[in-house]
């Protein structure tokens, strides 16, 4: 029966069932992945971010909140120029992590 409306999906991230395989794989080779303090410098300086929504800070969060597909979609815009790595105050090797995500 069509009621003219339907159940809307929950906006909650269900942390109990989030698949962290990719993030944990990255963590093994890039222990600095944990040290992000979400300052957003990477996003602010991003060459691709000048034209798109590209944000490494968000990519890291997406991977930890079960939105791997969105993260990979975002990475498609990356130009790998490396400015993010140069500005990261925690010295995270961002380019390496971006590359590793694609493997």
């Amino acid at each position: 029966m069509d009621f003219g409306f339907c159940l809307s999906p929950s906006s909650h991230v269900k942390m109990d069932s989030v698949d962290l395989t990719t993030f944990n794989r990255l963590k093994e080779t890039n222990p600095d992945i944990n040290t992000c303090i979400a300052c957003g410098s990477c996003t602010a300086t991003c060459t691709a971010g000048h034209f798109t929504e590209m944000s490494f800070r968000r990519i890291l969060l997406m991977l930890q909140r079960g939105k791997e597909d969105e993260a990979k979609k975002m990475i498609q815009h990356c130009m790998l120029c490396g400015k993010c790595t140069l500005v990261c105050p925690r010295g995270i090797n961002i380019r390496k992590i971006l590359l590793d995500i694609t493997r």
């Binding site: 815009h77 130009m79 090797n93 694609t102």
Partner: protein, 575 residues
């Protein structure tokens, strides 16, 4: 004197020789077979082109026998290698010459097979089978002793490398150690056998040769036959396409694992990283250890210093790039958004300035360039004043050749739209890709060092000389890649005094910031930077001048003296 034509002790040698010859012929066919068609055509043509043919002969003698390049770097090692290689070559040659002068021995009739058979082993065991004339005997003994002197140096190098001026040597596994032991003992055994004629030593000598030849294809000594082929391929102007095939394969087997690149590599400042140098990379490839090879390829900063010091001229940077390209990526890049990027400038500028991503992080370079171009009265325009499109080199460095095309196409379009005839770049990273990969016919591509040098020489830019002592750091992608050594130095001499760095020009040490490496951590990079800074301040300069925004940013982290870009220094001295 033994008046016989055969003794069983020659068998080990003959077997070994037969094996190694077969292996080499098969290997040769394999390498040539793996070359892409157009490369193969280039190769055949190069063999008959007089210019390359001459180069082939020159390098075959100069590199294979005398190793001129090692002599240049380190005469002791040069002698060591020449003594062994040339000495051994000579006793083989002399052995054969003696064969031609050999009179049939008394009472022996050589016929048919018997006549040709000894040709295979007579020169090697000559003294057992025939009598030497005095002059040859002296020559043979001379070269044999020369070889042994080389071996003595090798032994010293193995035990305490610093005596011969080498900090780090390669560490080998069992097979390499065994064949080295065989090599070192061949000649002393021969000497003893010849002088005492004890049968046991003739046996030992022959068995040593067999061991050496059977192990040769599986160890670094394969470089002896392969290098000759590599020289020919190199002169044909080929590029490695796949990390373990064709041309690259020839290079892999040509690497003698001499380890000269270990000391040269900027990463070796941390001993832990000396395993990430090109010598080990080539070894991993030879052993088929793909995973490690990939890791080393991605750790490498692509500074090119290993290539600069390599006595065999192995293009390890290119092979590492082909290794990077060999890794599949699961993500399709989507740079379609670049289609909406509008040019910032359209007009009648003659000079177009492209700062590049890195220079966006060092706005003082951009400001200095603006001052310089205005002072020179140039009609200029900025291509990326408010942030532009990446040049594509970082993407290329990651091995994603196809993905870089979108950015390169967009930049090409924007540059052509500007109508300018000269493109000035501040970043050597951009400069390299613009020079090598972009199709910008009719547009002159200059790095700002070259551009400023030209402005000063043409009198368009007037500068004051001050009393500051500068040292100039050669950025890898400007210096080693394009030989731009003189322009920046001439510019600096116009505005101050130039001091020498401890190592410079083609031996300049990477700043450590390179975009080439994906794996190096900040801490490892910092170690490299500190070492590089120490090289630069060796002669106590007041300021370090560089010509790359990335070097500038990197040095600024660790340098005890001021670090400036050449444009900035010039802008400060404008009249």
């Amino acid at each position: 004197m033994n008046s016989q034509i055969f003794h069983p002790f020659v068998l080990p040698f003959v077997l070994g020789m037969a094996f190694v010859l077969t292996y080499c012929v098969v290997g040769l066919l394999r390498v040539i077979g793996q070359l892409p068609k157009d490369d193969r055509k280039k190769f055949w043509r190069s063999l008959v082109t007089p210019k390359t043919a001459w180069a082939n002969v020159r390098d075959l003698v100069g590199d294979c026998l005398f190793h001129v390049k090692i002599w240049k770097r380190n005469p002791v090692l040069g002698y060591m290698h020449t003594a062994i290689a040339f000495g051994w070559f000579m006793i083989i040659v002399i052995g054969h010459v003696m064969l031609f002068t050999l009179k049939p021995l008394e009472g022996i009739e050589l016929q048919g097979v018997e006549r040709t058979l000894p040709n295979f082993y007579y020169p090697i065991f000559f003294k057992y089978f025939a009598e030497e004339t005095l002059i040859f005997a002296i020559l043979m003994d001379f070269f044999l002793l020369m070889i042994i002197s080389g071996i003595l140096i090798a032994v010293v190098k193995k035990i305490h490398s610093k005596i011969v001026g080498v900090k780090r040597i390669m560490h080998f596994g069992f097979a390499d150690n065994l064949i080295r032991f065989a090599l070192w003992t061949i000649f002393p055994f021969r000497l003893i056998a010849e002088k005492t004629n004890i049968m046991a030593f003739w046996w030992l000598y022959s068995i040593d040769l067999m061991v050496f030849m059977f192990m040769l294809p599986f160890t670094r000594y394969m470089h002896i036959p392969t290098e000759a082929l590599f020289i020919l391929l190199r002169h044909a102007g080929l590029k490695p396409r796949e990390p373990r095939k064709g041309y690259a394969l020839a290079q892999i087997y040509s690497c003698p694992s001499c380890g000269l690149c270990i000391d040269a590599c900027p990463m070796s400042v941390n001993d832990k990283n000396s395993g990430n140098t090109s010598a080990y990379f080539m070894k991993r490839l030879r052993n088929g250890d793909r995973e490690e090879a990939q890791r080393i390829a991605e750790t490498c900063m692509q500074c090119g210093k290993c290539v600069a010091v390599c006595p065999v001229s192995i293009e390890s940077c290119d092979i590492k790039m082909s290794q990077r390209e060999a890794v599949p990526y699961t993500i399709n890049s989507d740079h379609s958004y670049l289609g909406n990027v509008e040019p910032e400038t359209k007009g009648n500028a003659k000079v177009l300035y492209f700062a590049g991503c890195m220079t966006q992080l060092t706005p003082k370079i951009m400001r200095a360039m603006k001052q310089i171009m205005e002072a020179a009265g140039e009609k200029y325009a900025f291509l990326d004043k408010d942030g532009g499109v990446c040049c594509g080199r970082p993407m290329l460095l990651s091995g994603k050749t196809a993905e870089a095309q979108a950015m390169m196409a967009k930049n090409t379009e924007l540059i052509k739209q500007s109508g300018a005839k000269r493109l000035v770049l501040s970043c050597p990273i951009c400069y390299k890709v613009f020079k090598e990969e972009y199709q910008l016919e009719g547009i002159e591509i200059l790095h700002h060092t070259q551009y400023i040098d030209e402005l000063i020489k043409r009198g368009k830019l007037k500068v004051d000389k001050n009393d500051v002592n500068y040292v100039y750091h050669d950025p890898c992608e400007l210096g080693r890649a394009f030989g731009v050594y003189d322009e920046p130095r001439e510019v600096i001499e116009n505005i101050g005094h130039l001091r020498k760095a401890k190592s410079e020009k083609e031996l300049s040490t990477c700043c450590g910031g390179s975009l080439g490496s994906f794996i190096l951590t900040q801490q490892e990079r910092d170690e490299i930077t500190t070492n590089s800074v120490n090289d630069l301040i060796f002669n106590n300069p007041d300021e370090i001048v560089t010509a790359c925004p990335l070097c500038l940013k990197t040095f600024a982290r660790k340098s005890p003296v001021a670090v400036k870009d050449i444009a900035e220094v010039v802008a400060n001295q404008l009249k």
